[in-house]
Symmetry: C3
Subunit: 326 residues, 3 copies
């Protein structure tokens, strides 16, 4: 996961982690440091991980994590090299520990660090409209343009030959070359991810970024949320029409075409050369193969294999759809 | 109905009301004053009401209103204490009289009263970005933040610990404590309510407000319209994702979760602990019970009893939906 | 097609056109000038046209164009008065030649010509909020208002008694009288029209405008794209609710009512007195007759004859829909 922005405040001592979760340290024989929090697959022997569902049993068995947040019923699937840390709610605890490592990933308030572009060195380097604001930790390549009232908040890297329209808000985003972003977009905000708790939901941290590859075009009014534990990615030469919503952790391939008002829910993966018609919706955690065509207005609620045309709600093979509707 | 904003210009004399409707005053024996215009149920003996459909016959029979806009065919259902005022189109006449009592509720033009926040006393009280504007009759609690280019127009009350993002426009809205509003929202504008008339539609007044209770979060790009004759309400700890449209008079309960691109049409009521999936749509004037789950992409066109899971278009019980789609 | 904005840079010499397409000029006996590029039907004997599909065979046979971009298989359907110019991809070549005639129609970058309204003559003529920007080639009638942060870019004509809200971006648009545009709209941008080419799509020019007739109201968050080879039109006294997307070349009739979050895809035509429910979607290149009612959430994928009520996905007669769903 490419992420130049959220600084890891680790290493943290295990005793500190246990204390922040209000756990007893009975079953922990000695204190030590962990360097980062990662998923079961990515963890090294210096990391803490989390294991909350038997779906991940096979990965859990092979994890290299030195310690792992989990439940009493799951702990036996962890290898001997990994100390289970039993908690009541694995995901809530994961969220708390992630916040310890990455305290800046929780807060999505407006960026107080921004300055009028005329007060920055970008003044002489880029073309810009009225009332353009630039935050800290922003890098911009050559030959870029920024429309009126656009706010480039902190943690943004932009390549060469990019054209950003007016009224946009961008943060925590890496934009490659020759990208066009039209008007009124919000890119890089945290996703709609939280633990529902009566009277006071608990937001979990979003330590991912939005990554927009070369030659993309993003239409007006898009909202593209950054990833939580991975990145949100728009692949090379993919075009998005107006009023599209891309949720956190979504990954879209290359040369895809997505028409107006489409919504893609969290963590779904879209292949290369995919065409999605207007107002279609794709549920979360799905895999849409390469060269798939999804008819306008469709509601996709299961994986779609590559080279398929689908339509309807729930979306099915287009021939089947047209036959059933006769 | 809580409404601290629209000042009632009453009392008005009945002769004045009759004149504004271009009616003859033949059947009115003496002139008197009325204090307000209210629905049949809420009216007191000092108010004028309106009765336009036999659906409301039972309420009409018991109304305390002293006088009532109605039609020749309905007038006999009013009690003897209530003078019928016969008009050609009850709703159009109601709209005209409401405008007489509340002349400021028609106009939704931009607020000319706003000042740069640096020219107001809020300068020392809240954190704010660049180009923040504040209108007349605005109250803000402690520890609040306002992002860049956000416009708080007239008639807004905000509690403590609220975080408002950038590029928002808010008017005629009461926001309680610990509320987060992300970016690019328009909150408190009049709804899509008007009488279709060839060549020149007639807008009716919206004298309600938007009320956002404690601990809510409103995603990017939301439009939440204020009520016409009642308020639009978002209940405590309810979270809205991006690009959601909430029409006038909608009431949403507590602890509900509404995913991206959902639309709720006018005057529908949503219970507590309701979950609504992305892109679902709910027709107007419906009642969705507590603990209901509505699948993403569904189209709800009838009431949903509490504790039910529904999906599809038209939305039906989820088991039925999945069985039919096999 | 009314279009006061995009200046035709013609006449161009045929030798110049052939060169720009990298063609050999073997089969062209003598050089001459053409004045404009038009479709097969509109072309005069001074124009170049394009013929890319046998669907247009009957029109091709009667075209008055002096020369026509086409393919080897289609060329024989052109009349003897029309010289066929054989190219590999007719639409891509058409796009290139259109760009030669109308070089300003490709670029939709932010308008660098805008000035703060206080620095223009409109300062004394219209009411306006903070931070309003006005571009070149803008005309505004009497008694108009412009809300905060609104950007009227180049090529805009606005009639009398128009009220434009805050945070709007308008370009290449002709607005007649008594029109209301609420907040956060983007009007007049190019549509989602391009040739998909691996690694680098090719945008085609949009030489049309947006035309908004008298007494219309456009809700918050609308995106209305200008036409490519014709105009996008919103007919007299038509009202649009919030978050609506109107694609390029769409033509909507008079007295129509379109509810929230509706999307209308490119080149569709909607009649007079049409009612479209919330979140409905209409595919491209369709014809919806007068007095049609389309239920909320419907997906329309074929033409709808006048005086019909439809619902569902795909939308069908409402009686049939309700019967099938029982």
């Amino acid at each position: 996961m490419i992420n130049p922005f959220f600084r890891n405040h680790g290493p943290l001592r295990i005793s500190e982690i246990i204390k922040s979760l209000n756990l007893k340290k009975d079953n922990l024989k000695k204190d030590f440091e962990v360097h980062d929090i990662k998923d079961l697959f990515s963890s090294t022997s210096k990391d803490i991980s989390f294991f909350h569902s038997k779906k991940y049993k096979d990965i859990a068995k092979k994890t290299k994590a030195v310690i792992c947040l989990t439940s009493d019923t799951l702990k036996n699937d962890l290898p001997e090299t990994c100390i289970p840390l039993i908690v009541d709610n694995v995901l809530v605890s994961t969220s708390k520990i992630t916040s310890l490592f990455y305290p800046n990933s929780i807060n999505d308030d407006f960026d107080e660090s921004v300055k009028d572009i005329n007060e920055t060195d970008f003044r002489d380097k880029v073309k810009f409209g009225k009332n353009v604001l630039i935050g800290n930790n922003v890098t911009i390549g050559s030959n870029c343009k920024f429309g009126h009232n656009t706010i480039v908040e902190k943690n943004v890297i932009i390549g060469n030959n990019c054209t950003i329209g007016s009224n946009n808000i961008i943060r925590n985003t890496l934009i490659k070359n020759n990208v066009k972003i039209l008007d009124n977009c919000v890119i890089g905000k945290h996703g709609f991810g939280f633990f529902p708790i009566n009277n006071k939901n608990l937001r979990y941290p979003h330590i991912g970024i939005v990554l927009i590859e070369d030659n993309c075009e993003i239409g007006c009014g898009a909202t593209i949320d950054r990833g939580s534990m991975s990145n949100t990615i728009i692949g090379k030469n993919t075009y998005l029409d107006n009023q599209i919503h891309i949720a956190h952790n979504v990954k879209i391939g290359e040369n895809s075409i997505i028409a107006g008002q489409v919504g893609i829910a969290g963590s779904s993966t879209i292949g290369n050369n995919v065409k999605i018609g207007g107002q279609a919706g794709i549920s979360g955690h799905l895999k849409i193969g390469n060269n798939v065509e999804i008819g306008g207005g469709s509601g996709v609620i299961k994986d779609i294999p590559e080279n398929t045309k689908v339509m309807g709600y729930p979306a099915k093979n287009i021939r089947e759809f047209l036959r059933d509707k006769k």
